[in-house]
C-alpha cells in the first residue's frame, strides 16, 4: 500500500501532509508513532470512569495529533467529542464515542497496512 492509498482509505488529506512533511518516508515514520499514541485508549478509559477533565485532555490530544497527521476523518470526530467534553456534556461525549471508535479503528487498520 502506498501513502496515497492509505490516506484515501482512511479519509486523510494526502496533499496536505506531503506539503508539510515533504517525504513519504517521514510520513511513514510519523504514522508509526501514531500507532504508539495512547490518547484514544485513555479517552475510552476516562469516559468509562466519568472523569470529564481527563477525558477532555485525551480527546484534545487525539484531535491535535490527527491535525498534525492530516487524518481528516478522525480529526472531525475527535474534534466533536473534544468540544462536547469542553462543554462538560458527558452524555453527548458518550454518544459521540461510537463514531470516534469507528474512525480510529479504520485509521489504525490503514496505517498498519501501510507499514507492513
Amino acid at each position: 500500500m502506498t501513502v496515497q492509498e492509505c490516506y484515501d482509505a482512511i479519509g486523510g488529506d494526502y496533499d496536505e501532509i506531503m506539503s508539510r512533511l515533504r517525504s513519504e518516508e517521514r510520513v511513514k515514520k510519523f504514522a508509526g508513532m501514531f500507532l504508539k499514541e495512547e490518547c484514544y485508549n485513555t479517552l475510552v478509559e476516562k469516559l468509562k470512569e466519568q472523569n470529564q477533565e481527563e477525558a477532555f485532555r485525551a480527546a484534545h490530544t487525539l484531535k491535535g495529533v490527527c491535525q498534525n497527521m492530516s487524518f481528516t476523518t478522525l480529526f472531525r470526530s475527535s474534534y466533536e467529542i473534544t468540544e462536547a467534553l469542553r462543554e462538560k456534556d458527558m452524555d453527548k461525549a458518550n454518544s459521540l464515542l461510537g463514531q470516534v471508535t469507528e474512525d480510529y479503528e479504520k485509521t489504525i487498520k490503514g496505517v498498519k497496512m501501510l507499514l507492513e
Partner: protein, 363 residues
C-alpha cells in the same frame, strides 16, 4: 555559553517529533511531556535555551503554569516562547500573550513557516538582549566616570579654597565647617521650603561652591589679611572687595551654561549682602539675593561668631544664636532664621565638638 538548545513541551510524542525534525539538524533539542518536566528543565538548563515551544493543555502542569513560572523567575525576558495550539480562541490567545508568549502557532503547521518564525523571534530576542547588555555596560561606565569626575572636582575645589586659608594662616577647618553647615541648611530648606525648588543634585553643587566663598581674599594684601587687630575703615573697605575679586577670578574661566559656575559666582559675590539691602558689594535686597548666597551668608556669620579670631574669643553657641536672631550680626530673611532654628541642635553640636576635618569629609 552558546544558547543553542530548543525545548519542546507537548504531551504527545508525535507532536513533539513534528517540531523536532524541523530543528534537530541545527539545534540541540530537549523534550518535556508535561509542564512540570518543562519547569525542571528550564530551571536546570535555562542558560542554554534559545526557544521554547509550548503546548497549552497538558497533564500535571499546563502551559500557562509554565509561563507563570517563567514570569516569576524572569526567564520570560530571556527565552522566547511560542505557543502551539490546535484551535484559536480569543480568550486563550490573549491569555498566552498576556503571560508573555512571543507568538502562537496553530496546528497543523508547515515546517518551513515554523522555522522562519522561530528564527525571527530568536533573532529579535538575541538583538534585544545584546542591546540591553550594551546599555548596562555603558551605564556602568558612565556612572564610573561620573564618580571619578566628582572626586576630582571635589579635590580641586578643596585644594583651591584651602589656598586662601593657608595664606591667612588658618587651619582649614572654617571651609569644612561652612560646607557642613551649608549642607545642613539646604537639608531643611529643601524639606520645608519646596518653593525654592532646590534638587538634591543642585544642593550638592551648592555645598561644593560654598567652599569658595572667600576665594577673592587671595587678592587682599598681607598687611590687611594678616593684620592681628581690628581693621581701619579704609582697610575694611579694601577687605570688602574680596567679594568682587573672587568674581573677577572666576570670570576668567566663565562657563555661562554651567550651574556650578553660577553658584560659585553668586556665593563669592553676594555672601556679604544683607536682607535689608545694607550689605555689600551691590546692596541687593530681599529675594534679589540668590538663596544659596543667603545660606552661605548666615552660615559664615555663625561660624565667625563661634570661632576664635586674633581679635576676639569665640562666643558661646547660645549667645551666637541670640545675636543672629536679634539682628546684631546682619539681617537675614525669615526663612533663613527659621532654617537656623531647625538646624540649631546640629549646628551647636558641630561647633562644640571642635568639628574636625574627618567629620567634614564624611559630611
Amino acid at each position: 555559553m552558546a544558547k543553542n538548545t530548543i525545548l519542546i513541551v507537548d504531551d504527545a510524542e508525535l507532536n513533539r517529533e513534528m517540531i523536532k525534525f524541523i530543528f534537530e539538524e541545527q539545534y540541540n533539542v530537549l523534550e518535556a511531556e508535561d509542564g512540570q518536566q518543562a519547569i525542571d528543565l528550564i530551571s536546570e538548563r535555562g542558560e542554554e535555551l534559545c526557544l521554547i515551544f509550548l503546548d497549552l493543555l497538558m497533564p500535571v502542569k499546563s502551559g500557562l503554569d509554565v509561563l507563570h513560572f517563567m514570569n516569576l523567575n524572569n526567564y520570560i525576558k530571556y527565552i522566547p516562547v511560542i505557543m502551539i495550539t490546535g484551535e484559536s480562541t480569543d480568550e486563550s490567545d490573549e491569555k498566552a500573550y498576556e503571560y508573555g508568549a512571543s507568538d502562537i502557532i496553530y496546528k497543523p503547521f508547515a515546517p518551513n513557516v515554523v522555522m522562519r518564525r522561530a528564527k525571527n523571534i530568536m533573532e529579535l530576542f538575541e538583538h534585544r538582549i545584546d542591546i540591553e547588555q550594551e546599555l548596562d555596560e555603558r551605564t556602568r561606565e558612565l556612572r564610573d566616570s561620573r564618580r571619578k569626575l566628582e572626586q576630582s572636582n571635589d579635590f580641586l575645589v578643596n585644594a583651591l579654597s584651602s589656598v586662601v586659608e593657608f595664606r591667612s594662616l588658618e587651619s582649614g577647618e572654617h571651609i569644612h565647617r561652612v560646607k557642613y553647615f551649608t549642607k545642613l541648611f539646604l537639608k531643611y530648606l529643601r524639606e520645608f521650603y519646596p518653593k525654592y525648588n532646590i534638587t538634591k543634585e543642585s544642593a550638592a553643587l551648592i555645598v561644593n561652591a560654598s567652599a569658595l566663598h572667600d576665594l577673592g581674599k587671595i587678592a587682599i594684601p598681607d598687611s590687611i589679611l594678616l593684620k592681628p587687630a581690628r581693621l581701619t575703615d579704609e582697610e575694611f573697605e579694601e577687605m570688602k572687595k574680596h567679594t568682587v575679586y573672587g568674581c573677577e577670578l572666576l570670570e576668567k574661566f566663565k562657563q555661562d551654561d554651567n550651574e556650578f559656575y553660577h553658584y560659585c559666582y553668586d556665593i563669592c559675590r553676594y555672601h556679604h549682602e544683607r536682607y535689608d539691602g545694607r550689605g555689600y558689594p551691590d546692596g541687593l535686597k530681599g529675594d534679589e539675593i540668590p538663596i544659596w548666597a543667603q545660606v552661605v551668608s548666615i552660615v559664615d556669620v555663625y561660624d565667625a561668631l563661634v570661632s576664635e579670631r586674633v581679635y576676639k574669643s569665640p562666643y558661646d553657641v547660645n549667645e551666637a544664636a541670640r545675636m543672629i536672631r536679634d539682628g546684631e550680626c546682619g539681617i537675614f530673611s525669615p526663612e533663613m532664621l527659621d532654617c537656623f532654628e531647625l538646624a540649631k541642635v546640629e549646628l551647636f553640636a558641630a561647633a562644640e565638638n571642635k568639628f574636625s576635618y574627618a567629620d567634614s569629609i564624611e559630611a
